[in-house]
Amino acid sequence: MPNSDTTHAAGLVGAFLQNWRQNIIYIGFIAIFVVFALTLNDRGFLNPNNLLNIVRQTAMIAVMAIAMTFVLSAGEIDLSVGVVAGLSSVTVAMVISVAGPFAGILAGLATGIAIGTFNGWLTTKIGIPSFLTTLAMMGIAKGIAMWVSGTSAVPILSQSYAWWFGGGSIGPIPVLLFWILIFSAVGHVVLRRTGFGRRVLATGGGEQAAGYSGINTAKIKFRVLVISSTAAALAGMFYAGRLQSGRFQLGEGDELSVIAAAVLGGTSLFGGKGTVIGTIVGALMIGLINNGLILMGLEFSQQLIARGGIIILAVALSQKRA
């Protein structure tokens, strides 16, 4: 019956609008896109190259933000993602120059796993809150990156590495888009549809209750911190591939965009609530805003102010009123 189909569709739209605060990120994303499309069309906003550029610029934030969704959902936070990306770009570049791309990739991943293990160990075994652990790690990882690279850029000469990690494209489609799609799909399924994801949400939603239900909450927290650092290391490898060099400044300050992307997407800073799809849209929205503000010809200082204002507005609108 076509009639029941239309009422069903109307019901879905109604439910969507009723929960508009929850869905503000999607509404906001579309609204901003439409506004930019109308006002910035003559400056090439809708040009496919420009749109693909947004994807290229957002990929690193998106990958880190997917992992951050797990960290926040478990009621923890990871401030060290930006500097870990910088450090891994340096280790990848240095190891590639002496032992080739394959060893470089392993070295980059090992960097992330090592730092994540250290963060997780300090947080769950020593009992230092992850906010402090990863705050301290910001300094440590950056220091290491500066030290081993002598604060200079380390070039990457392997073209195949650069193609796979950030620089390449298949026809007009950047390889990074495929990476985003893979990570989104995996992240979404793991958080929504696996026992691990459910345990992450339970740990952040009520740690004591989760413990009483037989969940080893320390293990869950440990794992999300390792996942986060590893994803940050991958993001660093993308930076390195895209710029064909590793430098300690890469990824600097990204932690704020990453956390903003997740929170914009509806992930709670207090744990227990998180969605990977929302996070991706949040990351794309930040990329979209950055791109639009540049096309508008705003100065960097003005961009910062406008971006902060838009993020505050979006998060404020998504808050549930009592």
């Binding site: 939603g205 009520g206 209750a209």
Partner: protein, 524 residues
Amino acid sequence: MSTVAVRMAGISKNFGGVKALKNVNFEVLAGEVHALLGGNGAGKSTILKVLNGVHVPSAGTIEVLGVPLTIHTPEASRAAGIAMNYQEMSLIPTLTVAQNVFLTRETKSGGLIDDKKAERKAAKLFAMLGVDVDPRAIVGDLGAGQKQLTEIVKAISQNARILVLDEPSTALAISDVDRLFTFLRKLKKQGVAVIYVSHRMDEIARIADRATILRDGKHVITAAIGDLPIDTMIEHIVGKRSLGLADIERSDAVRGDIALELRNVSGRNKPDNISLTIYKGEVVGLAGLLGSGRTSLAKLVAGIEPVVSGEIRINDRPVSFRRPGDAITAGVALVPEARATQGIIAAHSVSDNLTLAALDGLSKAGFVIAAKAHAATNAQIERLSIKTASCDHSVSTLSGGNQQKVVIGKWLAVDPDVLVLDEPTAGIDIGSKSEIIRLVRELAANGKAILMISSELSELLTACDRIVVMADGRVYEDFSRAALDDPAEANTDITHRLQAAEQRLQISIQEALAAGQEISHAQQ
């Protein structure tokens, strides 16, 4: 002869120097509902947590279905076939009902979690129980009764051989309790052992086959429920305790003017149509079980929750509170139930805690005058004989009893007319308990009006001039303290008299409960 489902032998549990359980034997048969009874601090929760693997016993052995339980973790206990509801403590507020029910045992299709299937399975369980809870609802949005049902369904969904229900009926409507009982009888037939903890004797009499009574961490008696009429049960629960309260001197109150008057006051949910008058120099106790509306009443009086209808008058002037600050200005202070989260700021110093409520009076142009604050702090430390290394030590370094004195001192520093004490002696040692009771008497003698909530009836009987019994948000009876004394016991020693009065009060609470349920039944 049924098989033994649980055999706990010689169980002891110490927390630091406190002996919560002393050589307790506890045996439950398959296919029976076994009631576990005892007053507050008798050790019921502790022994259940030992059984459930949350606490490791200091001594003793546990056998489950003939197999010794040697590893003491929640997972090991569950693997052995024990499931327990925790009074809403094992639910994750951000997940749905179905997600909570099957937490860690998720329903999967093709290796992935299938929430739709879990929702259908949960719906079946709720249908079997005959109760109406939406499996897709977020637990945080549910009312207390629905949470409780979710908790119970979570426990029974584990196909447990031993099901532990800790106060399962507290937040349930009477019709839901009936359904729960029908369901428990079904489980019994399947050979499941049910351990049932409740303060409601009428329920115990209806559902339980046998009962074990604990008192002060010791096993008192295990008997068939037919051999335990309610007053015998109460006698065993109350016992011949020496609480160190008996020697507190009770002098008759000198009543002054009316300090606090409630006229037909109702809150959002509870309490319901309360009228109550407290005079200066008088201590009025609120007795009743969990959910009887005692704490809600305290919160109304302290301006924490809004008054929906009726009038509160203080010193014969009508007042209306929009926030706690209004109540404090009007002269009402509340020593809240949850000391750790509502009473003290644990990391702050004794001095900072004691002066927190009185800061305005101790400052000039926004600056706290150190000398004045110091004097105020020392005055309270001396008056309440708070044992602390110094006034600059953090409150977290103090014992529970001294922490509570800090909370009381914080309010005495603003010199209120009406002092509301919600479970002021919860979790503190017996020495400090009697000190606090003595203090309550002394404050009344100095003209304060005091409203005191306690689940320890002997304390109410020692401290109060009048005791109001509440159930289901309403006042059921208003006793003068003397009316609770049994004239037949008048010549025996004070311990006996206290015990006799406690039994009368306990019986009244149980009657109030039954009456309260009839009223809500009639209203449904």
